[in-house]
């Protein structure tokens, strides 16, 4: 499988702030890749480097097999980009902007354009200055999704959309996936990424701290367990990877590293399980684990793979 985007050891500083601090990222061709992190983590900076708008201080980046800085315009014909902040020309209509951006990219599919306008419920005759943030974003989304390109780079594309429109957006991304288009979707909305993405990279302070499929990443997190046993539990406290253990008579409550789940189950089963509740980890937990101690400047965890 080839990679649409390969980035390694990317550094970018603005004065004394390090926006990117050795970032690695790989997006396989045909996958929907979630690029997850809070505001200011470096998502937009990475995307701008990939678009050749910023020049990296250090590191390698390859986009669709080319150099994003050297071959910018040539590569851009094969991709479409939706910025996080969409600003339109005040006296051009939405329809004009969609057509202009499409033509500069090498053409639009008019049928797809109409379909998108209808499903996003966007009026293309309004002037740029009269659109709300959500509608400006729709203009950029229609222009991007109606283009016949190999790669979509979307920077927090749903941040101004209402839940109904978010759903429409998800349907379109599902369709894109079936057409084997590659999508880099930056977001801080976990449910969106969880629902749409094949693989995820979590970025924190200019570095990717986790990357993999959702299943891979879940593996890293803790499952919370509540069990009622036939007899008093035994030896659980000595198992590796068991946290926040509470034992009341025959009841056990704990959190266990997903990797150690099997060992814990065996130990519990030895005492006879009467009832068991296991809550799978959510992406949110994984995310919080990386960010809750941000102020303490915790060490980034070892990446999987």
């Amino acid at each position: 499988m080839t990679s649409a985007i390969v980035v390694s050891g990317l550094h970018k500083s603005y004065g004394s702030t390090h926006a990117l601090d050795g970032l690695d990222l790989e997006v396989a061709t045909g996958e929907v890749h979630g690029f997850l992190g809070p505001n200011g983590a470096g998502k937009s900076t990475t995307i701008r480097v990939l678009l050749g708008l910023l020049k990296a201080d250090e590191g390698e980046a390859s986009l669709l097999g080319g150099d994003p800085w050297q071959d910018a315009a040539k590569l851009h014909r094969r991709l479409a980009y939706v910025p996080g902040d969409v600003n339109l020309w005040p006296n051009l209509t939405g329809g004009e902007v969609i057509d202009l951006l499409g033509r500069l990219r090498g053409g639009l599919d008019p049928k797809k354009r109409d379909d998108l306008l209808r499903r996003f419920d966007l009026d293309p005759t309004k002037k740029g200055r009269t659109y709300s943030k959500g509608n400006r974003q729709k203009v950029a989304l229609v222009a991007a999704l109606a283009s016949d390109v190999e790669l979509l780079i979307l920077d927090e594309p749903t941040s101004g959309l209402d839940p109904l429109m978010e759903e429409v957006f998800r349907q379109f991304i599902e369709e894109e996936r079936h057409r084997d288009r590659t999508v880099l979707l930056s977001s801080h909305i976990l449910s969106e990424v969880e629902a749409l993405c094949d693989r995820i990279s979590i970025i924190r302070r200019g570095k990717v701290v986790e990357t993999g499929t959702l299943a891979d990443l879940r593996h890293l997190t803790r499952t919370s367990i509540q069990a009622e046993l036939a007899a008093a539990p035994n030896g659980i406290a000595n198992l590796p990877g068991v946290h926040s253990l509470e034992i009341e008579g025959n009841r056990v409550r704990c959190e266990v590293d997903t990797a150690q789940l099997d060992a814990l189950m065996k130990q519990l089963a030895a005492s006879g399980i009467k009832s068991l509740v296991a809550q799978p980890p959510t992406l949110e937990e994984l995310f919080l684990r990386h960010y809750e101690d941000d102020t303490v400047a915790a060490e980034p965890l070892a990446a999987t793979r």
Partner: protein
């Protein structure tokens, strides 16, 4: 009172944002008045010379319509400053209105006001603060202008009346800006509307002033600029007339407040019309977009240049009579003319058109930066458009736009001066050539914007400062006998004095080469730097 909550904070915010712009403008206006007075006072040592100059001015309808009538031919102050009375009032009025629109509609359009409105901010706070800042600026400007005129030795009463003339026009048009800011959703459109009102006011005044003795002089009294002028500084100092523009300001401000109450934040009273749902087939390149964005401004400037050209050419036929005194002839020749007063006048005025066109060029090239900071360049540069193509689109608008402007001005002045001198066939090509030789210096200034944009984008507005410096060197250098080496720094110093003067190709080629170098360097810089 809660409708006004937060006004003081907004005033401080506005002063913080304009802490450079407003003082610079005040200094420019004050020194323009004082400099002009100082330079002219020596030209008219006695009453006879003043009466002569004033009578020739008053007998030329073109001059009267441009600057207004001289009411008291014996008054040193009026004869020295008549060119700045209503013309200066026009500029002060423009500034006052722009300041109001900038801090009301401009803030609203950008969405920043909404951010603040969510805090403790009364609905009238933004308009009140903008009016306070604008009115404060023109009042300070009026006072300092008066003091500086007294400093040049002119009578105190007349000096204050002159300051009041400017301030009154400024206050009225602060009111006009307050109203137009409520009408439209875009600050540019609001400024455009203000400019129309201002233009109509100036034209009404010009029509009334140039009417014959028994004619329709009352038309001037329909114009706020006419009222300001009728205060007649140094010629009677009719303070009472100032009540008219002040009363109009009160009415306009009251209207603006009433309008604020009737509309939503962000909305205008004039609903924008829907436009086409698809782009026209020609909108398919960055240049087509740049043309679309800038054509409105180019049309307006082009019309103004054609008009200016006609006026200049028309005045040229009267110049011989106008500067009949020796000292005035000397002055015109000092201002850049050679061989014949008419040619000298035309060549000086073409120089003025060149300066004005440079301002268009700066503004057009600065679009690069405003598009970049508004994040509108980014989506374009993320398509198949190269950086050079995108940058070239707006640079071409600046280069070709300035060329169109000076040539249109040259054509207008060639036709009207040719018609009144009776040699159209000769005069039109001469004036077109005089227009064309302005271009290298204009393009150097455009090149300065471009090179700053390429290497120091945050400093790109410094191009205005450099342009202002060239302007000052050119206007005051000969009067204050600055060393030639310093004056040669200005690209305008090397423009051949056409029509009439000697044409030598060397400076034209050299200045053009400098412009080309600046442009090329700017493109190289932009290709290498970060966008955003």
């Amino acid at each position: 009172m809660k409708d006004f909550a937060g006004t003081a904070t907004l005033v401080r915010l506005a002063l913080r944002r304009d802490r450079i712009m407003l003082p610079v403008w005040i200094v420019v206006f004050v020194s323009m008045a004082a400099g002009s007075a100082k330079a002219s006072i020596d030209l008219y040592p006695d009453v006879a010379s003043r009466v002569e100059a004033a009578n020739t001015t008053n007998s030329s309808p073109a001059l009267v319509s441009l600057y207004g009538r001289i009411f008291d031919p014996t008054s040193l102050g009026e004869v020295s400053l008549f060119k700045l009375t209503s013309f200066g009032a026009l500029l002060v009025a423009l500034l006052a209105a722009i300041v109001v629109v900038r801090h009301t509609r401009g803030e609203e359009e950008s969405g920043r006001l909404e951010l603040l409105s969510a805090g403790v901010l009364g609905r009238y706070a933004s308009l009140t603060a903008a009016l306070i800042v604008s009115a404060g600026t023109v009042i300070v400007m009026g006072l300092l202008t008066a003091l500086s005129l007294i400093g040049t030795g002119l009578p105190a009463s007349g000096s204050f009346a002159f300051g009041l003339t400017w301030a009154a026009a400024g206050l009225t048009f602060a009111g006009v800006g307050a109203v137009t800011a409520q009408l439209t959703e875009g600050a540019r459109t609001a400024n455009g509307l203000t400019a129309v009102v201002l233009g109509v006011s100036y034209v009404l005044r010009a029509l009334g002033d140039s009417a014959s003795d028994g004619g329709a002089r009352w038309i001037s009294w329909l114009s706020p600029i006419g009222w300001a002028q009728q205060i007649r500084p140094f010629a009677g100092d009719r303070w009472i007339v100032a009540l008219l523009p002040l009363a109009l300001m009160v009415v306009l401000v009251a209207a603006a407040f009433a309008l604020v109450r009737r509309r939503d934040v962000g909305a205008g009273l004039v609903r924008p019309r829907p436009g086409p749902a698809t782009a026209s087939p020609s909108l398919r390149s960055p240049l087509a977009l740049a043309w679309r964005l800038q054509r409105g401004s180019l049309y307006a400037w082009g019309f103004a240049f054609l008009l200016l050209g006609f006026i200049v050419g028309n005045i040229a036929s009267n110049v011989d009579g106008f500067v009949s005194s020796d000292s005035a002839k000397e002055l015109v020749e000092k201002l850049g003319g050679v061989n014949g007063i008419t040619d000298a006048f035309l060549s000086a005025e073409m120089g003025m058109l060149g300066l004005l066109a440079s301002a268009f060029g700066i503004q057009a090239a600065l679009r690069l930066r405003s598009e970049e900071t508004a994040l509108r360049a980014e989506p374009l540069l993320a398509t198949g458009v190269t950086r050079v193509q995108w940058m070239a689109s707006h640079v071409l608008m600046a280069l070709l736009g300035t060329a169109v402007l000076v040539l249109v001005g040259g054509l207008g002045s060639g036709i009207s001066s040719g018609a009144s001198l009776g040699n159209m066939g000769r005069q039109v090509p001469r004036m077109l050539a005089a227009a064309a030789v302005q271009l290298p210096a204009i393009w150097v200034v455009t090149g300065l914007v471009v090179i700053l944009f390429g290497f120091a984008p945050k400093l790109v507005t410094a191009a205005w400062v450099l342009f202002g410096a060239f302007l000052l060197i050119g206007q005051f250098g000969p009067i204050f006998d600055l060393p030639q080496g310093l004056m040669n720094v200005s690209p305008y110093a090397h423009t051949p004095r056409l029509p009439g003067g000697d044409f030598s190709a060397t400076p034209v080629i050299l200045v053009s080469a400098i412009a080309a170098l600046l442009l090329a360097a700017g493109f190289t810089g932009f290709r290498r730097r970060d966008v955003g």
